[in-house]
């Protein structure tokens, strides 16, 4: 039997038994759509979270004061460090040739005001290079000025939201914002980055690190970022940094060095596992569809016994009859899983329109696997009914008196 004839024959069967076809199709559609949709949601959530936290380049080392003894897990974000991490420490690192640039970070809350408007806000003390490391872009004006980090210039760069809250539609550049007992001239406004988790610069004020040290009356740095020239040099540089700091801190290795990858990989792992688990659970619905296919096909075989007998009387071999039933399942699976993909992709696309920051969507291999599993399941579960049909003795099948 030719492939085209096989397809046409099965198409007629499927149209002829509309209810049965639709029922099986729905089971397959739900299965494939569930797998694709749920992994799409999970993957979207994962990418969203990663995107929110991966504000640093791959080659950036994060140095934080204090030693975390146990390996694995999150390093301490708070916790008393025995010795401050200072600007001098940072400056010492710049003599490593593998380090492109460094940037310090001090953060705290301060009450900001402009004219009568008052706002408790996040203030970050850092340097010019931070803008490059953190990939911050400016909407207006310029970044913090380059030069000696110990120079406490009275300038600031405002996050977009903060600017709006303090200035409304009025221009902010050149105006003076008060923070505590100090005043800062606005020299730049950051471009918005949308909703953010972690450090949200939309609502932050950036000032020179030395100014922040004075504002918060604190010498020690919260973080030092060091951008390494290439990923290859990450490990040697890391060791070099450790030994430099150790030397400067009286032989005490009292800092923790992490890469963003290390920070994110645990997040990544958890979210990926969660996504796969959810997708896998959805995959079970495909197995359920398979069982349904088997049962419905078994019923179909007994309903079509006379027809099978007739086909055999007309010379159809057992192999042909088996192929008829298997190809019907195959056709169902292909059409069902394509519709399932279509539906889930449209839902994901609609989701992306609604929440444009979340990159909803499953990886290609999940789509391929969902369709593949649907097809394999359908064939696997149709095999028993197909074999039963093929094994029917022609005479017994024919004496089932049926048909017009």
């Amino acid at each position: 039997m030719r492939a085209m004839d096989l397809a046409r024959f099965n198409f007629q069967v499927m149209v002829g038994h509309r209810f049965r076809t639709i029922m099986l199709m729905i089971a397959l559609i739900i299965g494939v759509a569930a797998v694709n949709l749920l992994t799409g949601l999970g993957e979207g959530a994962r990418l969203f979270v990663l995107g929110e936290f991966s504000f640093l380049g791959k080659n950036t080392l994060i140095i934080m004061p204090g030693k975390k003894e146990t390996t694995g897990g999150m390093p301490p974000i708070t916790g008393e460090a025995p010795r401050d991490l200072t600007l001098e420490d940072m400056r010492a690192l710049t003599r490593l040739s593998a380090i492109n640039r460094t940037a310090p970070l001090i953060a705290g809350m301060a009450e900001l005001s402009y004219q009568s408007r008052l706002r408790e806000s996040f203030v970050v003390g850092t340097t010019h290079d931070f803008f490059a490391i953190r990939k911050l872009s400016l909407l207006q004006g310029r970044a913090l000025p380059p030069g000696d980090p110990t120079f406490a210039d009275a300038v600031c760069v405002l996050g977009q939201t903060l600017k709006r809250e303090l200035f409304g539609p009025e221009p902010a550049l050149g105006q003076w914002v008060r923070a505590g007992d100090r005043r800062f001239r606005v020299i730049g406004i950051l471009e918005g980055k949308g909703v953010a988790m972690g450090l949200n610069f939309d609502e932050a004020m950036l000032i020179p690190v030395a100014s922040a040290q004075m504002l918060f009356n604190q010498e020690g740095l919260f973080r030092v970022f060091a951008e390494v020239r290439s990923e290859r040099e990450l490990t040697p540089t890391r060791n070099a940094i450790l030994s430099i700091i150790k030397e400067r801190h009286d032989g005490e290795e009292d800092i923790t060095l992490i890469t963003q990858d290390a920070l994110l990989s645990s997040f990544d792992e958890i979210l990926r596992t969660l996504t796969l688990a959810v997708g896998g659970i959805a995959g079970i619905s495909l197995a359920v569809a398979g069982v349904l296919i088997m049962n419905v096909m078994l019923i179909s075989v007994s309903q079509r016994t006379a027809e099978i007998g007739l086909l055999k009387a007309l010379g159809a071999s057992a192999a042909t009859v088996r192929r008829l039933f298997l190809s019907e399942a195959l056709l169902l699976a292909i059409i069902g899983s394509l519709i399932g993909l279509l539906i889930s992709e449209s839902l994901l696309a609609a989701g992306r329109l609604l929440y444009n920051q979340i990159p909803l969507g499953s990886p290609v291999w999940v789509k391929v696997a969902a369709v593949g599993v649907a097809i394999v399941t359908a064939l696997l579960f149709a095999y028993l009914p197909a074999r039963k049909a093929a094994a029917l003795a022609p005479v017994e099948a024919l004496t089932h008196k049926q048909g017009p």
């Binding site: 024919l398 048909g403 017009p404």
Partner: protein, 248 residues
Amino acid sequence: MSVANRSSSSPSQLKSAEPVVALHEINRHFQLGEQTVKALDAVSLELLAGDYVSVMGPSGSGKSTLLNILGLLDRPDAGAYLLNGAPTQDLSEEKRARLRQQNIGFVFQSYHLIPRMSARENIELPLILAGTAPKERARMVSEMLERLGLTARASHLPNQLSGGQRQRVAIGRAIIMKPKLLLADEPTGNLDTQSGADVVTLLEELNTQGITLVVVTHDVELGKRARRQLRMVDGRIQSDLRQSDVSD
């Protein structure tokens, strides 16, 4: 597909033809509880190419069982069945399917048409199963429809056809592969007199063109038309009558 077995003999040559079918001591028994039903009991029979045979006898005498054995739809419990001189009883089911496809056509009392397929598609089915090319198929089926006088009904579904038309479609399907042997089990059983007569005319026409025709019937008038008349009782052939001439 194969049309290699197509008979090209003309009717006049058929008198001296060798047997298309030879049954030797065929048994077909059914076990019904304690009781053994001997549906066929040591039946021996030879059919010559171009034969026109009717099989009659009381209900339960084994007529349909005989036809099923002849059509390779059923296997005998004992005995030998030679088709075109070659033994068939030990062949695999796949080989038997192939023999059926190329040598045997069936016509059933209840037509056995596939309800979702049009007249044309029902007739086309054996060609599709045999993998014949679509173009050749179309030509052959159109010819067949023409010959059956069903061209206007080609796209009708079986339930849109009269009984006589349905049976003609079934006959078209049975002979589209140009079999040597045409087996009909009560072909007129469900038809009124006029349609029945039309169907018989068609079958006899096919026989005249060389096909070996076996008709199982309860209709004495129909049975008497055959050149050779078998009468079965209790799984045995009780009488085997040959007429040198058919009286119309």
